[in-house]
Amino acid sequence: MDRAYRHGDEIVKVSSRLEGERIHVATGGSETTFNWEELASGEYLVRQNGVQHRCVVARDGDERWIWVDGHVHHLQIASDVRPRDAGTSGALNSPMPGQVLKVLVQPGDTVRKNQTLVVLEAMKMQYEMMSPRDGTVAAVHAREGTQVPGGIALVTLADEPGA
C-alpha cells in the first residue's frame, strides 16, 4: 500500500507491504521490516530485534492519530489535500463549531490583516477571528447569535486586484 500522510507541515510518503506476521515499511529510503501483533482494537505491538514499540492508533475519515513512545501524532491522509487554512486567500473560516457573538464588518468595508472581523464563542471562551490579509469585505456569511459548524466561511474578502 502506498500512501501519503500530512504530518505537521510535512508530507510523508509511506510504502508498506504486509506479509503474514511481518510488515515492511519504507518512508522514502530503504525498507524496514517489523514483526507485529494486534493487542487490542487499535493497539499494536511492533517489534524489531527485541526492540518494541506499543502503538495506539485511531482513525476518523482521513484523520489519523497515533500514540507511540509517549507522544501523540495527528496526521491526515494527503490524498485529500486541501489548503489547511485561508492563508492569503479570501475566506475567513470558523476554526471550530461555536456561536457568532459579534460581526464587526459589513460588505464593502476595508479591512487590514489581523483586524478582528468576527467574535466567536465556544466552550465558554471568546475567540477573535482575524482577517487573513488586507482587503475589502465581499460578503458576510456569519449572523450574530447563530451557531456555526467548524470550517465554514464567516467572511469572504474580495479578490485582490492583480492577485
Binding site: M1, R3, Y5, H7, G8, D9, V12, V14, S16, L18, E19, G20, E21, I23, V25, T27, T32, F34, W36, E38, A40, S41, G42, E43, Y44, V46, Q48, Q52, H53, C55, V56, V57, A58, R59, D60, G61, D62, R64, W65, I66, W67, V68, D69, G70, H71, V72, H73, H74, L75, I77, P95, M96, P97, G98, A122, M123, K124, M125, Y127, G150
Partner: protein
C-alpha cells in the same frame, strides 16, 4: 490543623443540624466531578442519582450511574442550572440530599435555600455564607473586620487625583490604578513612581470613562511576582473549624489554573501556621459549614493577602486528599448529615507531595482553540502514585457546550521530585486520540528549570512559555508501520471490535483497503 480546632467562641447562630441520615443523593453536575462524587457515595452505600442534558445522554457520568434523569436541552440554563427541574427530579427519585459539585449551582445561595425549603439537604455551606463570600466588596470588608489581611487599597471615596496620589503614596509604590467599573485590563495602569502617578491615573480615567462610562478609580498595591496559595478549610455544625493545609495554584493560563501542588515550595512551617490561622479566621467570620477554600496571594516578601473564598469543593481537591489521606467528599457528607468532623480531620497530617495537571480539550498548536469531536481511543495512565479523575471513554462526544476540561491527572510521591517524576511518566502514558489536548503544553511546563526549582508566580507562563510552540516530533518507522497496519488489518483480528468510525467515508470506499490485507491472520 488542630491548633485552631475547637469550640467556636460564640454559639453558632443556627443550632447544630439534627443528625440526618443521607441515603440517596442527586448529583447536580456532570463530567469528572459527578463521577468523583458517585464513587464516594458508592463506597458509603448511598444511592447516587445522575442528571443530564440532551447531548450528555451517553456521557460517562450518566452511563456509570444507577439512576439517571434527563433535565433538558444542552443550554445550561435549561439543564444543569434548571433549579425547578433538579428539585422535581430529586423528589421523583426519592433523594434526601443534593450535591452541587463545582461550577453550575454550587455557589448559588438561592438554590441552596430552595433545596432546604424542599426538604433536601444541600451539601454545601449555609446560604448566608455563600452570599457573604459571593460579593467581593462585602467579602473584603468582612475579612478586614476579622483581621484577615487584604490587598492594601484606597476606599475610592475621594476621586481627585491629588487625594488618590496621597493614597498611593500611603500604600507604597508600585501601585495598580484600577477602574472601579473595570474589567479586561481596561482603565488599569501599573504605576512605579509617585512622579508618574497623575498622568497615569488621568489616562486610566479617560479609558474607564470611554469603556464603562464611569471614571471612578481605585488604587491598590501592585504585587510583584505573587504566588496563588489557597487553604482548604472545613467546618462542622459542632463549632470545629480546621484547615487541611495549602495548595499552590500559581500556574495559570488566562486566569485558569492548570497545574496545582501541595505542599507549596514557598511554604515554611511558620508561614503555614500564619496563613492557616487567617484561613480559619475567614471561615469563622462567615460561620462556615462544610468544605471551602480561602485563596490568598503571597508576594515576594512573604506577605499574604486574602483574594476570595470559594464556597464549594475545588477542582484541585484531590491533591489535598492525596497528602492527608482524607476523602473530602466523604467529609462533606458527614458534615451535611450533622456529624462532627472525625479526629483525622481535626488533627490532619501531611505526607509526601502531590501534583495535579488539568487536561483540557485545547489545541496548543492553534492558539489553544477548544477542540470538539469524538474521543477515538483512550488509555489511562496508572501505577504507583497515579490517580486520574476524568470522564473520558472511547466514542465520547466532546461538545462545545461545557467546560473543556477532560480529566485531571494527580500524582503523589514522597517528595516534590518523586511526584514530578510520576507526573512526567503518567502524562507520557496518557493516550487521548481523536481530539486535541494540552498534554504537550503541560509537559513543556514541567520541563522548565523554573518549574523544577519551584520558582512559581502567577506570571509563570507569560515569563517562561510566552513564545512556546509545540515541538514537531518525528514519527519512528515502527509508528508508520502501525499506521499502515491499522488501515490494512485494523479491528479484524481475534474478534476485536472495529473503530467507532465505521461509517466514515474512508471505510465505505469500496473495501479496497481490505483487499490488500490477505496476508493477515
Amino acid at each position: 490543623m488542630s491548633a485552631k480546632a475547637g469550640k467556636s467562641k460564640r454559639q453558632s447562630s443556627a443550632s447544630p443540624a439534627p443528625s440526618t441520615m443521607i441515603r440517596k443523593v442527586l448529583i447536580a453536575n456532570r463530567g469528572e466531578i459527578a463521577i468523583r462524587i458517585q464513587r464516594t457515595l458508592r463506597e458509603l452505600g448511598i444511592g447516587a442519582v445522575a442528571v443530564y442534558s440532551e447531548p450528555d445522554a451517553r456521557a460517562s457520568h450518566v452511563t456509570r450511574a444507577d439512576e439517571a434523569y434527563l433535565l433538558g436541552p444542552a443550554e445550561a440554563a435549561q439543564s444543569y442550572l434548571n433549579q425547578d427541574k433538579l428539585i422535581e427530579v430529586a423528589h421523583q427519585a426519592g433523594c434526601d440530599a443534593v450535591h452541587p459539585g463545582y461550577g453550575f449551582l454550587s455557589e448559588n445561595a438561592a438554590f441552596a435555600r430552595r433545596c432546604a425549603d424542599a426538604g433536601l439537604v444541600f451539601i454545601g455551606p449555609p446560604p448566608v455564607a455563600i452570599e457573604a463570600m459571593g460579593s467581593k466588596i462585602r467579602a473584603r470588608s468582612i475579612m478586614q473586620q476579622s483581621g484577615v489581611p487584604v490587598v492594601p487599597g484606597s476606599d475610592g471615596a475621594s476621586q481627585d487625583l491629588a487625594t488618590l496620589e496621597k493614597a498611593a503614596t500611603a500604600i507604597g509604590f508600585p501601585v495598580l490604578v484600577k477602574a472601579s467599573a473595570g474589567g479586561g485590563g481596561k482603565g488599569m495602569r501599573i504605576v512605579e513612581r509617585a512622579a508618574d502617578f497623575k498622568s497615569a491615573a488621568a489616562l486610566a480615567r479617560g479609558e474607564a470613562e470611554k469603556a464603562f462610562g464611569d471614571g471612578t478609580l481605585y488604587v491598590e498595591k501592585y504585587l510583584e511576582g505573587p504566588r496563588h496559595i489557597e487553604f482548604q478549610v472545613f467546618a462542622d455544625a459542632h463549632g470545629h473549624f480546621v484547615h487541611l493545609f495549602e495548595r499552590e495554584c500559581s500556574i495559570q493560563r488566562r486566569h485558569q489554573k492548570i497545574i496545582e501542588e501541595t505542599p507549596s515550595p514557598a511554604m515554611t512551617p511558620d508561614l503555614r501556621a500564619r496563613m492557616g490561622e487567617a484561613a480559619v479566621a475567614a471561615a469563622r467570620a462567615v460561620d462556615y459549614r462544610g468544605a471551602g477554600t480561602i485563596e490568598f496571594l503571597l508576594d515576594a516578601h512573604g506577605d499574604f493577602y486574602f483574594l476570595e473564598m470559594n464556597t464549594r469543593l475545588q477542582v484541585e481537591h484531590p491533591i489535598t486528599e492525596m497528602v492527608t489521606g482524607l476523602d473530602l467528599v466523604r467529609l462533606q457528607l458527614e458534615v451535611a448529615s450533622g456529624a462532627p468532623l472525625p479526629p483525622e480531620a481535626l488533627a490532619p497530617t501531611q505526607r509526601g507531595h502531590a501534583l495535579e495537571c488539568r487536561i483540557y480539550a485545547e489545541d496548543p498548536a492553534r492558539g489553544f482553540l477548544p477542540g470538539s469531536g469524538t474521543v477515538q481511543r483512550i488509555r489511562h495512565p496508572g501505577g504507583p502514585g497515579v490517580r486520574v479523575d476524568g470522564a473520558l471513554r472511547d466514542g465520547l462526544e466532546v461538545s462545545i457546550h461545557y467546560d473543556p476540561m477532560l480529566a485531571k491527572v494527580i500524582t503523589v510521591g514522597r517528595d516534590r521530585d518523586e511526584s514530578w517524576l510520576r507526573m512526567r511518566r503518567a502524562l507520557a502514558e496518557f493516550v487521548i486520540l481523536g481530539i486535541p489536548t494540552n498534554l504537550t503544553y503541560l509537559q513543556a511546563i514541567l520541563e522548565t528549570q523554573a518549574y523544577r526549582r519551584g520558582a512559581l508566580t502567577t506570571h509563570f507562563l507569560a515569563d517562561h512559555l510566552k513564545d512556546w510552540k509545540p515541538e514537531m516530533v518525528p514519527l519512528p518507522d515502527a509508528g508508520w508501520a502501525a499506521l499502515a497496519l491499522h488501515d490494512l488489518v485494523g479491528g479484524r483480528t481475534r474478534g476485536v471490535t472495529a473503530d467507532a468510525s465505521v461509517a466514515s467515508p474512508w471505510d465505505t470506499l469500496s473495501g479496497w483497503r481490505h483487499a490488500e490485507s490477505n496476508g493477515g491472520r
